[in-house]
Amino acid sequence: MTSLVQTRAPARPRLGTGFRTVAATTAGTLVLAAAPLYLAPYATTTLTRILVFGLLAASLNLLVGVVGLPSLGHAAFFGVGAYAAAWTATHQTTGAGTLLVGVVVAALVALVAGAVAVRTHGVFFLMLTLAIGELTQQAADSWEAVTGGSNGLYGVPAPSMFGTVLDQPATTYWYVLGFFVVGMLALRLVSTSTPGVVLRGIRDSEDRMRALGYRTTAIKLGALVFAGAVAGLAGGLLAAQQRLVTPADAGFETSALALLAVVIGGTGSWWGPCLGAALVIVVRDSLGATLDGHGPLALGLLFVLVVYLLPRGIAHIRLRRATS
């Protein structure tokens, strides 16, 4: 027994891990921030789309991986946030205030939807969230005066900050990256602090947490509203990046692709879903467009391959550790 234990390296002190995480995050952010300097416009645009979709996937991951609430309607909040931000940009202001509107409206919708949904479990939660997504898409399709119906809200003005219009691939990218970092840090903060521990407790045994005195339904609702708000932020960024919002952005397919990104990236990981999102976007938009109509097939194959080869996702690949 003793010899077995001794072959393993001793646990690293927590401080070191924290420092490494901060260093890696800072380095990653810097590499991302410099991307437009060495990437062609199309790569920058693709990367922008990846960031938007990555933030959506990361917010869904808070529900799926941390709270254990697999949602099939998360794009509803994404879509609502996108519509709210696009409407604000068209009719009111093009500043970062559009994002705030997107966040608030998405959070309110999540509060109403969540009040019903979090009381259910398992397959019932799946079906309810699916219904919420479909209802949102249907509403977007029918409410032509506000949403523009099936043609969507088009011609959304480019965002502006400090009097500068951000309509070039690089400037749009930096705008999106800035708020992507804000959203990711917020998600990180919630999932690693005390509330995150409570949420994981609920995932593992809700009954026990309730017995310990936690009001689990209220806490789950809070998590759903928070995840909805971050999805709304991602929606606002979509409106700024794509400058077009259509009912499909709130629909099942978007929800399903976000869930796919979470599964590919690895549930519960903070950054894994962003890598999953990158893979999904590259396969769907860059590769898919050139495959003579076999784009959806490529996405399907990717999903099957990941489930078989990486059942726990990219984030949980363990490189072989050096043992001494």
């Binding site: 790569a43 032509e144 467009a289 495959l291």
Partner: protein, 398 residues
């Protein structure tokens, strides 16, 4: 150690993946023009996956056939065509256009079936100052309220097609009509275009329905309403699988004998006609084209098309054929392929007299063209839309 290594490794891999796929460089600064003076690069944006795939196939056939008959040249320049999959809607359509403009650096864009995609790429195309010739998307706003000097259309507007039927019915003694179309923008535009023209001619709309788009399988409730409405005829607009379901159920319900079906031509255009079978027999519709048009250009076009693809040509193929035709004339005249030169050349192109659809010209960047009253008949064992009458020209904003 592994914490950082793994993260860095994966980050780099993802970064390299994106970069490797699309080429490096810089996103700052202007995009260079790619083509020389004897070539032109065209991006063909068509649906290759999803419900609109048959339209994409027809558009590509029309485009390829024109090029094959013209030595692969547009206005004297050798053409390179890059095809991108538009998919079912703007979620895939907008990135496809972005890829063609920014990655493939095409000079001209052709295609676009979905109106939402056409409206969504307006700012992209306009800021890139590249010409987009729309070969299908029919929303009125594309060339009116959401107009861009760089976006021209060789197809139709939804309202225009329906207005042709409205104008015709009002003058042919049918006084009371029930109008039905799916609950989405194109359906609403069709009903509005029809109603305006029909009412202007003195007709009355006795009732109207807009069943949920893409979600209605059973039209019985709507058919009962039509039956009890006292209408002398039904005007409808449906496309794809919905047009098959509606036409079949209309016949099964026994309505086609008592209340004739009048339609915006897409109801019975292309592949859906075969799927509708006997149920479509006798349906009257208006469209800017039918394979049965008897003019020299269409006879030659029809023969070449049947020889190449073993299928009858459709309106979608002609829209692409004409897109190639006007582009060729514009390139020959402009002697440059940037958006400003080509848009200027298209503006002065005048009447196209040798199109398979008959003479047409650009009015507000969209065709002013003749519409034909067509009846579904069986000829040589296959259903076709035979020509009943030439209804004369209509403006795009009817």
């Amino acid at each position: 150690m592994t914490g950082i290594n793994r993260r860095t490794f994966l980050g780099l891999t993802a970064g390299l993946g994106v970069a490797g796929l699309t080429g490096c460089g810089s996103s700052l600064g202007a995009t260079a023009v790619s083509s020389g003076t004897d070539t032109v690069k065209v991006g063909l944006v068509i649906p290759q996956a999803g419900v609109y795939t048959p339209l994409g196939v027809d558009i590509q056939r029309g485009w390829d056939l024109w090029l094959r008959q013209h030595d692969g040249r547009l206005g004297g320049r050798r053409v390179t065509t890059v095809v991108a999959d538009e998919g079912e809607g703007p979620q895939t359509g907008v990135p496809a256009v972005q890829k063609l403009l920014q990655n493939d650096r095409v000079d001209v864009l052709v295609g676009v079936v979905s109106s939402a995609t056409a409206l969504g790429v307006r700012d992209l195309v306009t800021s890139a100052r590249r010409l987009l010739v729309i070969a299908n998307a029919g929303a009125g706003a594309i060339t009116s309220t959401n107009r861009s000097p760089y976006i021209w259309r060789t197809s139709f507007t939804n309202a225009q097609v329906a207005a042709a039927m409205g104008r015709h019915l009002a003058t042919s003694g049918v006084r009371r009509i029930y109008a039905i179309a799916p609950d989405y923008v194109a359906g609403t535009e069709a009903i509005k275009g029809f109603s305006n023209a029909y009412r202007a001619g003195g007709g009355t709309i006795v009732g109207q329905s807009q069943p949920p788009f893409g979600k209605t399988q059973d039209y019985q409730p709507f058919l009962s309403r039509i039956q009890s409405s006292g209408a002398q005829g039904t005007f409808c607009f449906f496309g794809g699988a919905e047009s098959v379901a509606f036409v079949k159920q209309y016949a099964q319900f026994g309505l086609s004998r008592t209340i004739p079906l009048y339609a915006s031509g897409f109801l019975v255009e292309g592949g859906v006609l075969g799927a509708q079978g006997q149920a479509a027999d006798g349906v009257l519709s208006t469209l800017h084209y039918t394979s049965e048009l008897d003019n020299p250009a269409n006879v030659a076009f029809g023969q070449a098309y049947r020889a190449a693809y073993d299928a009858a040509p459709t309106a979608y193929a002609v829209q692409a054929w004409d897109a190639a035709e006007v582009l060729s004339r514009a390139i020959a005249q402009a002697d440059a392929v940037d958006g400003d030169s080509l848009a200027g050349a298209l503006d002065s192109i005048g009447v196209i007299t040798d199109s398979p659809r008959g003479p047409w010209s650009f009015t507000q960047q969209s065709p002013r063209q003749n519409f034909y009253l067509r009846r579904v008949q069986t000829r040589a064992g296959a259903p076709v839309n035979s020509v009943v009458a030439d209804l004369g020209p209509l403006d795009p904003q009817s």
